[in-house]
């Protein structure tokens, strides 16, 4: 049997390929998370006229690894009143749900681990699971700050998922498929043919909901330090805290990736002619994610935190009716003018 046959037919070959694919996604993702924390701090520093991390390594580039090492070496403290199993399980859930969603994200034409029919629903399902890590953490900690943080987070994430759902519906109405590769292919062409332009208000709704979904400023009420110490992860230390941190950043990158796939044409180059199309699609995809992540950090540096009732009002009384209306308008436009796919 040749090597190619071994990898495509034999079960051991399949297993090796699968593990290699997982590593090929997880390792770059974790490096991206590490440098996202660095970029985050540098961007806030620039906004606040500071220097940011600049001591460890050249330009402070080794800072994320120093932080990671510090978290690994510290002691994991489990509070005596905590529910031990769930207390340890919670950060794992957060981290794992942030990682497994990447299985369906297309990095380039055909570069996807699982090219499933219902990719967008899978993404939506997995991103709605993130709330469990937070709720279980808050409950298992047996601490009032952690519990309040968890309650806030649960209410917030459930509220904003509704509008994200409607945003996804408008996109799949336009693309005519639930498969993420097909959605990207439906946007083929330069930046003017991507969905951010025809669906511009939904792009904004999606981005703001993504901020709320990942508990970022201005919606970081679950861990607002002025009121709740550190919110749901008050009682966590060392690597259990580290997993929350990694999961949170991986989720941010995931939602940026979703934004890039749904609205910014995935792997297509913004200008569809010679010098730009030579650059591989995965680079464009990474650049689009980076742009969205920059906006995440920029928002954190410039916008004050919402009050809780305002947050709920925005989710239920502004975004929900608006996105519902937009779904109806999009469907009507597709039906009346025949703009739809096929």
């Amino acid at each position: 049997m040749t090597l190619a046959q071994f990898f495509t037919t034999h079960w051991l070959g399949h297993l090796i390929v699968m593990v290699a694919q997982c590593l090929a996604i997880v390792v770059p993702l974790l490096v991206a998370v590490a440098y996202m924390t660095y970029a985050d701090r540098k961007i806030w520093a620039a906004i606040q006229l500071r220097r940011g991390p600049n001591v460890v390594g050249p330009f402070g580039l080794l800072q994320p690894f120093a932080d990671g090492l510090k978290l690994v070496l510290k002691e994991t403290i489990v509070p005596s009143g905590a529910n031990k199993v769930l207390f340890v399980l919670a950060p794992m859930i957060t981290f794992i749900t942030a990682l497994i969603a990447w299985a369906v994200v297309p990095f380039d034409d055909g570069w996807v681990v699982a090219d499933i029919n219902v990719g967008i629903l899978y993404l939506f399902a997995i991103s709605s699971l993130g709330v469990y890590g937070i709720m279980i953490a808050g409950w298992a900690s047996n601490s009032k700050y952690a519990f309040l943080g968890a309650l806030r987070s649960a209410a917030q994430m459930v509220s904003y998922e509704v509008s994200i759902g409607f945003v996804l519906i408008t996109v799949l109405l336009c693309a005519g498929s639930l498969n993420l590769s097909a959605i990207v292919k439906a946007q083929e062409g330069g930046f003017w043919s991507w969905y951010w332009l025809p669906l511009f208000p939904m792009f904004i709704v999606f981005f703001i909901s993504a901020l709320a979904e990942t508990n970022r400023t201005p919606f970081d009420l679950p861990m607002s330090e002025a009121e709740l110490v550190a919110g749901f992860h008050t009682e966590y230390s060392a690597m259990t805290f580290g997993l929350f941190f990694l999961g949170e950043y991986a989720n941010m990158i995931l939602l940026s990736g979703m934004g890039a796939v749904l609205f910014l044409g995935g792997w297509y180059s913004p200008l569809p002619f010679a010098p730009f199309t030579w650059i591989p699609g995965v680079v464009w995809f990474a650049l689009k994610i980076a742009v969205l992540l920059f906006v995440f950090s920029w928002t954190k540096g410039t916008v004050p935190r919402y009050r809780y009732d305002q947050l709920m009002r925005l989710g239920w009384k502004v975004f929900l009716p608006f996105s519902l209306l937009w779904v109806a308008l999009t469907a009507a436009a597709i039906q009346l003018f025949g703009w739809g796919p096929g």
Partner: protein
Amino acid sequence: MIHALAFYVFAAVTVVSAFMVISARNPVHSVLYLILAFFNSAALFLLMGAEFIAMILVIVYVGAVAVLFLFVVMMLDINIAELRQGFLKYLPIGAAVGIALFAEILLALGAWSVSPVAAGSLRAKVSDVPNTEALGRLIYTDYMFLFQAAGMVLLIAMIGAIVLTLRTRPGVRRQKIAAQIGRRREEAVVLVKTRVGEGVSS
């Protein structure tokens, strides 16, 4: 082989976690086992090739319904010893309800027959039409009015729930965004000329 193995693993976990839902001492653990059961049934749907239903199960039940369950149960302050006390007292009525339900399921299964139309759509190829599309055609084309009627029933149930739980409390002060934004300088600020040493007398 792997298919069958996966089926038995998921089915076993579903049954065990469903049993744990009713036998776990801590209600929060019950809800978490319920979530595990939902997950494994979604996996069973996936094995049958019904990927759309599997994903909807996770989104709706795990992502929304169970979150609200957990939300409520976490806030309960339950004394577990007290909860155990009534077990023998409620056993007869619980058993009666259980037996009645079981008998009904048996009856329904016994009288079950598949209509020729449905049998045809059951045997429709899974592979050439994605099952999202097949379901869409079934719900929005073939059974459009039944589906709308089901929607109306749900809407009425929802309105009923709201009407039952809505309390109109007098004297609640709400934030009126429009009124806040609509304020002008003239109605908000009064300039008073004061003499030094006298201050403002209202």
